[in-house]
Symmetry: C2
Subunit: 224 residues, 2 copies
Amino acid sequence: MARVRSSRGEGARLRDELLDAAEQLLAEHGDERDVTIRAIVGRAGVTPPALYLHFPDKQALIREVVVRGFDDLARTTGAAAEAAGQAGAVAALRAGVLAYLGWAERYPGRYRALFDARRETQLLRPDGTGTSVAFDGLVARIAAVQAAGAARAGDPERIATLLWAAEHGLATLRVARDRFPWPPPGELVDGLLVTIVGVAPGALPTGAPLGGTTPGFSSSSAPG
Amino acid sequence: MARVRSSRGEGARLRDELLDAAEQLLAEHGDERDVTIRAIVGRAGVTPPALYLHFPDKQALIREVVVRGFDDLARTTGAAAEAAGQAGAVAALRAGVLAYLGWAERYPGRYRALFDARRETQLLRPDGTGTSVAFDGLVARIAAVQAAGAARAGDPERIATLLWAAEHGLATLRVARDRFPWPPPGELVDGLLVTIVGVAPGALPTGAPLGGTTPGFSSSSAPG
DNA sequence: CCCAGAGATGAACAACCGATAGGTTATCGG
DNA sequence: CCGATAACCTATCGGTTGTTCATCTCTGGG
């Protein structure tokens, strides 16, 4: 890994390169355990001590990678929802959820790291209140669907909580149980929108039916 | 950890004790990484080589612990559903889901281990077909609710998939995001039954309202 | 041209991991 | 009571982890 030494005053450039390297490793391997100091610095073309010029310890670096991940996820889902917004509130909500699942499937390792328990400090946004832009966005999109009269009534925040849990469950289970005969993401999301949010099936962009005849449904291990 | 040496022919007793020790460690610490060979044998009151008399390597032991965990989870939820079955199909379904969430909250480390991705071989039941008793049980309970006319129609397996994902999401998020103002489990489960399964709110054992006025709902990080 | 200092390194530390070779102790049939 | 052997231990191996100390190298301002 040939690397040109940073010129004077640009030592901080390595900092970003290390974060990029860690992010890539996390994205490639599915396991945070494989993101080791030596793997990070090796990819960045540097030796271990150089890392400690920019981070007090590994934990600090990982934490920053996780923060980056949250930003990327929120930005991705928000952009998808906004892009689809012209087709209506339902399409926007649907696009956001679909983008969420897509991100989690594209970067399983990163997604896992974001929601790993036993993470020392819980991630709270730096604005102090502890409010999540992403969650609030989801609430707003649900409220918009309700306001458009395209879904049944109900507390948007409560519904957002259930929807979030469901999409998180799908996001993690789809990679952890890849032998389970999962329906296509689009159908799953449609199912969530119809069942949890109470969108009328006809109001979906696809006009997809629910509980249709999807054959071959029985396998793998363990719910109750 | 004083331990009496097993008498002749009862050497296999240690095998169970090691499994118990590993299970306890997994239950106490939230992390599979803390369940080390030395920690296991230390708790069992023996030294590392003794473990290799009963397991070829660590992986084999952990796998067996995971299988045990699946059995325990399935048995717990099944028993809860059956016990509540006298109060009707809805009560049975509700009790099963609630027991699922309860188990996951009581043993976060074990639950995490069960659904950990990057587990070498996917857990398939030894009966060959790959069918999960637990998932089939959930499907059956949903079908029973539908047959009783207490829920809207729809493919039970599709609905079970969504419900499973949602309860898995809640199970993991509730421990990973303990600063999030989660509503009580009972209300969450009621929400799932009403929204996903389509149970009429009045048909719930609690007769709980949905989308009620649960105040103080806004915080923490990251859905989309 | 030179040298202060930013940028990065070589080598090693202690701690821990899973696993093994070979020896020790207690048991129980005969 | 003896000796075969099941049950278990002592000691250690090779490897990996995060981290640090002392040192080197290159850059650029004066």
